[in-house]
């Protein structure tokens, strides 16, 4: 891009990250700057690589779940759903009806928590201190629910092959209902804190415009793609769990900019509340695990063949490809992680923008590095 330019002194080379307050996690960006203008961005990844896919091959099917928890550590429930969609297909184990509903509720609660974290971090990127604490208070309420249900806050390890770790009781259902009753009001408050601020609008409007064609070329999915006006959501396109029995909308925006991604994520949280409200009323009675996969039999599960399952995680389309060779351990596990694909569009988006805009754009992608590096 700059090969023809002989006067290299004109440009500043700046290393943003991996330890930098506004690159989320351990993203490293090599920037070439002309004054304040970003001429070239080169994301460098791999600082959080933990070899999760390979480790999955060394473990029983039921044990690999915890590595998925630690991929997208902000949206661990959705990671578990993604893994189990593939594993249960491979192992031929049907979870009971009640489990599907429970998993749906947990995944949507987790989607709310994940988007809240994103909103807070995005505010910090733009120099807004206060909304961070407002959203984290709400997120803490979701995590309290998780603690009540699964015993841990973030890396929950709640679901297991053919079931869940613990059944819902009346107290939990009451608490979830309480949360969904009070949450929308606070959500609107936080939403207004952002969008009624002219400075926030001026920082996000018409910044980082992503055309739908480009987005599809780069393989961008999730809220990023929907903010560009493409109504693609795995929950509707290829329903898993019980999403086909629930009534909800896929929010899209025609704005295509950073502001659109913000609006779409907040609308998604509203839709998640809608989903939880429906699901918690319809949740059927029944067992909470498949007896074929009870604890004593779990390590003896064998799978053969290959499967690919895709789910809509909080960041986008999360795909898991698994090959089994008939033994108790998977032969190969591969993950299509949405953050990784979404990150690849950052150099395209931040051509000839200011540093401040580049930070806003990279913030709007919603990167979680556990998932990018795996």
């Amino acid at each position: 891009m700059l090969e023809n330019d002989t006067s290299k002194e004109r440009y500043i080379e700046l290393n943003m990250g991996p330890q930098h307050p506004s690159t989320h996690g351990v993203l490293r960006l090599k920037l070439l700057l002309d004054g304040e203008t970003v001429k070239k961005v080169e994301p460098v990844i791999g600082y959080l690589h933990r070899n999760a896919e390979k480790i999955c091959e060394l473990d029983f099917y039921c044990d690999a779940l915890i590595y998925f928890d630690r991929m997208d550590y902000v949206g661990a429930m959705n990671m578990e759903v993604g893994y189990l969609e593939a594993a249960e297909k491979l192992l031929n184990i049907e979870p009971p009806e009640r489990v599907l509903w429970i998993r749906t509720i947990m995944a949507e609660l987790n989607r709310i928590a994940s988007h809240l974290v994103w909103a807070g971090a995005f505010g910090l990127d733009l120099g807004m201190l206060t909304p961070f604490f407002y959203v984290f208070e709400q997120r803490e309420k979701v995590l309290d629910l998780f603690t009540e249900i699964c015993g841990s806050r973030q890396e929950t390890n709640y679901m297991s092959i053919g079931g869940v770790y613990q059944d819902f009781n009346d107290k939990i259902i009451y608490k979830i209902k309480e949360f969904t009753k009070h949450f929308p009001k606070t959500l609107e408050e936080v939403y207004n804190l952002f969008v009624k601020n002219d400075v926030f609008i001026s920082r996000t409007k018409n910044i980082g415009i992503l055309e739908p064609e480009v987005a599809l070329d780069y393989g961008v999915t999730g809220p990023m793609l929907r903010a560009s006006g493409v109504p693609y959501d795995v929950r509707k396109a290829e329903p898993y769990l019980v999403y086909d029995k629930l009534n909800f909308d896929i929010p899209i925006s025609k704005r295509k900019d950073v502001l659109a991604r913000f609006i779409v994520r907040f609308e998604e949280m509203r839709q998640s509340v809608k989903i939880i409200n429906q699901a918690i009323d319809k949740i059927p009675d029944g067992p909470y695990f498949n007896p074929k996969a009870k604890k004593s039999l779990m390590v003896r599960l064998r799978g053969e063949g290959d499967v690919y399952a895709r789910t809509e995680s909080t960041k986008g389309e999360f795909g898991v490809y698994m090959v089994g060779d008939g033994s108790v351990k998977p032969y190969r596990v591969h993950v299509r992680s949405p953050s990784f694909k979404n990150l690849s569009v950052l150099p395209y988006l931040s051509r000839d923008v200011l540093i401040a805009d580049m930070v806003a754009i990279s913030g709007s992608i919603d990167l979680v590095f556990g998932e990018v590096d795996r």
């Binding site: 120099g127 208070e137 601020n197």
Partner: protein, 346 residues
């Protein structure tokens, strides 16, 4: 009665001149101690207020309600090792925080604090051009900002300093023009309009009412001078790590930090002195100083609320705003003031 004369009176055994010199020194010390106490108080108040806004508790362990936290933090910063970056410009690096703090503290000396009960008027400087001097002193602070940026051999610091300079030059001209309008207005009523005390005396009606446009420009300028959140381009927290202060640690960082809060307080004090009638209010002769404090504190709370709820303005947009809107507006303000004076309305 003036506080200076009172002190000189008490010290009169020493002779005429020595007593006056000593009285000046004592009065200056009083003001400097006031400034330091007020800045420390500001830090504590800010942390408590911020915690309140953000639904947290804030400092609450050291001392009753956390009041000693500021002292503990100060001691921590003093005894900390100051890590010096390699390849720095040593003199500029070391002088930058001192310049900022010096400009700030000197600024406090030229404020007319007004009368307080028995103590009488507290005004250290009786210069006829104190209004000019105080803005000259405030103009020292950007030099510190630039020096800190270019001397610390860090790209983030340079970028922060560049932003800081771009910001400073785009609001200083409108700020001085709005002050010029104030001087014109004051010159109708008093013989020494360049004396900041004269500006206060001239405000039988606060200038904020007579010159709302100038008041608005000056409010924005003071916010940009203190460089808190919508205008913290020099620092650009998290985007450029911490901008020009990136490489500073220990006591030197502490000076930058205190400088920020001190400037908010000094700026609020200047706004209330120049536009809101300073120490004027009911029972001025007894409570003047209290009135000044009340006005200042209200402005401080407003400033902190803005700080906590605003994202950072992008630097090019602020430069645009400064040159395209603030500057023409300040000229319009000047013309309107001229018309008012010429027509003899005020």
């Amino acid at each position: 009665m003036n506080l200076l004369l009172r002190i000189a009176d008490i010290l009169s055994i020493l002779g005429h001149y020595p007593s006056f010199i000593l009285a000046y020194i004592i009065e200056t010390l009083i003001v400097i101690i006031f400034a330091v106490v007020v800045i420390a108080g500001m830090v504590f108040f800010f942390r408590k207020y911020m915690a309140r806004v953000q639904m947290r508790l804030g400092p609450n362990r050291v001392g009753k309600g956390g009041v000693l936290q500021v002292m503990a933090d100060g001691l921590k910063l003093i005894q900390k090792e100051s890590i010096l970056p390699e390849g720095r410009d040593d003199l500029a690096y070391k002088i930058a925080p001192i310049l900022i703090f010096f400009g700030l503290i000197m600024g406090f000396i030229f404020i007319p604090y007004g009368p307080l009960a028995w103590f009488g008027y507290l005004t250290v400087s009786h210069s006829d051009v104190s209004l000019i001097i105080i803005f000259a002193l405030l103009a020292i602070m950007p030099i510190g900002e630039v020096l800190s940026g270019i001397s610390s051999n860090n790209k983030y610091a340079v970028l922060g300093a560049l932003r800081g300079v771009a910001k400073d030059i785009s609001f200083e001209v409108p700020m001085m023009l709005s002050i010029l309008a104030v001087v014109m207005m004051a010159s109708v009523k008093v013989s020494d309009p360049l004396n900041i005390n004269g500006v206060v005396v001239a405000q039988s009606i606060p200038f904020a009412i007579l010159e709302p446009l100038g008041f608005f420009i000056f409010l924005i300028s003071m916010a940009a001078r203190a460089s808190y959140s919508p205008f913290d381009m020099g620092e650009s927290d998290s985007e450029l790590v911490t901008g020009n202060t990136t490489e500073y640690s220990g006591l030197r960082f502490g000076l930058f930090y205190l400088g920020l809060f001190g400037t908010i307080f000094l700026g609020s004090m200047l706004i209330s002195t120049i536009y809101l009638g300073g120490y004027y209010g009911p029972f001025t002769n007894y409570l003047g100083f209290i009135w000044l404090l009340i006005k200042t504190l209200v402005l401080v709370v407003i400033s902190l609320t803005i700080w906590l709820s605003m994202p950072r303005v992008r630097i090019d947009k602020f430069v645009n705003f400064g040159w395209k809107y603030l500057l023409p507006l300040s000229f319009i303000n000047l013309i309107i003031t001229g018309i008012i004076i010429f027509g003899g309305i005020a």
